[in-house]
Symmetry: C2
Subunit: 474 residues, 2 copies
């Protein structure tokens, strides 16, 4: 028996021919899907029940052929929010760069273990190259570091766990955390999972323009300290999910320095605008942060599951996360490349680095910068157009690429009108927006982050929004 | 401008032709890699410095062509522990089923958001189908549920966070957790990240056969309670990483019931042997657990990054993890399919479900069962062969597929001899073993979990281990 053919008797080891056939079929499915994106609906849930039923069948004992399986999966993809399409302007659009999908195909097939560098030095270096590039982008000093996470939630979690360990020690229930009421819910969630009681979370008021009120922050910190509590952690948002507003980071940094707080930037949505001149101006002061959450699956247009946490002092990150084990004794200690497992909650995890590194190396940094600059321009176009249209209420000029808006109907309940307006816009299936609550009022929002969204679709969005409002406001 | 061609002016949107070329190249790289696995070294770090240097270059402004990039990546894969190859018998081998790599390629390209069901009902159902299948496999009752995680570490974390919330409330620093000294370090790490101080962790002694000492457990719990502490969490190992030993789960369950503890099974390594008759016998009592950690990237041979947590009561999982947010108000409430984001620490994350579901649907359950049964058989073959060889000390008969062993040299320091023995075996580059400490002594261990490890390679391993010992013991 030839060594290379020996696997064919085992069903889990398809022959080279079978692998090629399956790969070709998948390639065909995916390329056709991507080619069809500009024409496909921005959202389509009609008949979703049918695909749920189809995909709800338990696995059989003996399997079934791949072409039918792939077809079922493609049907499932069609009945969904079209997160990868140009009309997806809801929530924070995810990415889905083709090069990242190819990267994951290879990464999963090679299946190297990157979380201790010694097990795959080149691949661990790929992740470290990404982290170093990010640390440099944000002006973090030598000694800085970071980890790739599954997303912003886990990055915020590790930031809080690190700050807790560094600043409070094991008896931390009197520690208090500060963030504006506009902050992403993942911060509260991370704090609670890290063991903080609800009573330790401080929602700092926002100013009318939705940024953190720095004076209120200072007063709250001082009052808590006077009450015997231990203020230790403050969040500056580098672009909130709600409105895209950027907190005055340098001012928050002043308070953090004066009051001895760990300064964390939640830049999950907005961070990569640091690649642009406009972003760097808005984020002035971010280089003073102790930690920064970034989501490459947002601003770098990568697939969901690609987050990161940068830290000013990688020794602190490691001290908060490291636990030894006898069965890992064969692994070399840290070298130039860290053992990421020692600096994160995860031991085994996917090789996230390749899907950041490959698109970045392939397309070059400028391609990302240009795409982000384009998004900022498109946002201004949409904002100006709606603002100049009678009836539209745009009270928050965009810092980045989120535009919250309402419509003031000539009669009837405004709240109800705006809910119906959202439904009507989304019924177009050419664009898909979402909503939020700001100052206890229902607000529609447009968020332009997809790399596939260009001028034509934004103009179409403007037309659809205007005409939907006009039709409802007769 | 034709709609379908509009993307070509944007570098992040390659044409269909470019996508096909890149996909074909990746397919070729991966199929050649997999075809070469039986002949390639089990470990190869010679010249790793060179690939580290190569892959350490920061991204350029304008990118570079993909064929060179893929070649660099393939060079990085070669200089590593060959985690996907048949000779990898170290740590807990990872998987790397080809079908899973194809699944991730599609999943990343489609880039659907599965963590709230309404955004992609069919794909959320795919994950729920997997979870339901797992709950059924372990005999969990109606009302059970679970989540897919990045691995066992995060599954253990969510188990502890859930138990903490359900049993202790917000002021939990007097809670105490119990697990045998043979338990995986991720349990301690998870407890510490969830806020428990070191003083709350109880290492229960192991019996001479390395299982948890159930009587010692009971006494420790009772003493702690008498001291005013709140015992609340106990771990039963369904296969330890160190030795593969299975704790007497039914006996631990009795203590848990009598003492009111949350019963958690860490079945990250061993859980999928539940598919086999031998596994089900060993795991008797596991259906009583409140939570079970499983790693499909181990026992289902999937790529790293594919873990899961099963819970008896999915309402408790949700209560511990749920935080609301205004900008998610458009999402439908839970239906038959849960919003996984509400039951896990993560909001955005990768679509892990497809890389479990697709191989399972494609190959069928029986292919996995047969592969696991084969691993149990191969382990017995290796154990019997070494045990019958003079000089080898095999004091722990394998429950599952880990064989810890030592060699008793005729003269000299045994500890030193065994360290040299490991080096010599691994220098063969045909098999790769690791070591651990048991009872403060250095022990080699073989762990047979790769789906690509078959009888031929195990016989080769036996020959290499025997001849290496004989050569050293002249």
């Amino acid at each position: 028996m030839n060594e290379d053919e020996a696997g064919s008797q085992y069903p889990l080891e398809p022959s080279a021919q079978e692998m090629r056939a399956m790969g070709e079929h998948a390639l065909d499915v995916l390329v056709r899907f991507i080619e069809g994106l500009r024409a496909s609906p921005a959202v389509d849930l009609d008949g979703a029940d049918e695909v749920v039923r189809l995909l709800g069948q338990p696995p059989s004992e003996h399997g079934r052929p791949f072409p039918g399986l792939f077809d079922d999966v493609a049907r499932g993809a069609a009945k969904a929010f079209n997160t990868t399409g140009p009309g997806y302007l809801a929530f924070i659009p995810g990415g889905g760069l083709y090069a990242a999908a190819v990267a994951d195909f290879i990464a999963c097939g090679f299946n190297r273990f990157v979380n201790v560098w010694h097990a795959a030095p080149g691949f661990a270096q790929i992740e470290w190259t990404v982290i170093r590039w990010l640390d440099d982008l944000f002006g973090l000093p030598p000694g800085s570091g970071g980890i790739l996470t599954s997303g912003g939630s886990m990055a915020n979690f590790s930031a809080i766990a690190t700050a807790r360990h560094a600043r409070l020690g094991e008896d931390f229930l009197d520690g208090t955390l500060y963030f504006s009421a506009q902050t992403h819910a993942s911060v509260s969630k991370a704090a609670i999972l890290a063991g903080f009681p609800q009573r330790s979370l401080r929602a700092v008021p926002a100013t009318p323009d939705l940024a953190i009120d720095v004076e209120a922050l200072r007063e709250m910190v001082q009052k808590d300290r006077a009450d015997g509590l231990r203020p230790f952690f403050v969040v500056a948002n580098a672009g909130t999910t709600n409105s895209g507003r950027v907190d005055p980071i340098a001012d928050v940094a002043d308070v953090a320095r004066e009051e001895g707080l760990w300064l964390h930037a939640d830049a999950a949505y907005g961070g990569f605008f640091q690649l642009t001149e406009r972003g760097r101006t808005l984020f002035r002061g971010i280089e003073a942060c102790d930690s920064i959450t970034l989501d490459p699956h947002k601003g770098m247009f990568l697939p969901y599951g690609t987050g990161s946490l940068l830290v000013r002092d990688r020794a602190q990150l490691r001290e908060a996360h490291h636990v030894g084990a006898a069965y890992l004794q064969d692994l070399f200690p840290e070298s130039e490349i860290p053992n990421f497992a020692d600096s994160s909650p995860e031991l085994s995890r996917d090789f996230r680095g390749l899907r950041v590194w490959l698109p970045l190396q392939l397309h070059g940094v400028d391609a990302f910068r240009a795409a982000l600059d384009e998004k900022l321009d498109l946002t201004q176009v949409l904002y100006d157009a709606l603002r100049s249209t009678p009836g539209f209420d745009l009270r928050w000029p965009p810092d980045l690429t989120v535009v919250p808006f309402r419509y003031r109907p000539r009669s009837g309940n405004a709240e109800e009108f705006n809910r119906r307006l959202l439904e009507r816009i989304n019924a177009s299936k050419r664009v898909f927006l979402s909503s939020t609550m700001i100052d206890d009022r229902f607000v529609l929002r447009v968020c332009i982050v997809s790399f596939r969204t260009h001028r034509d679709r934004v103009e179409e969005a403007i037309d659809i929004i205007r005409s939907s409002a006009a039709e409802l406001d007769r």
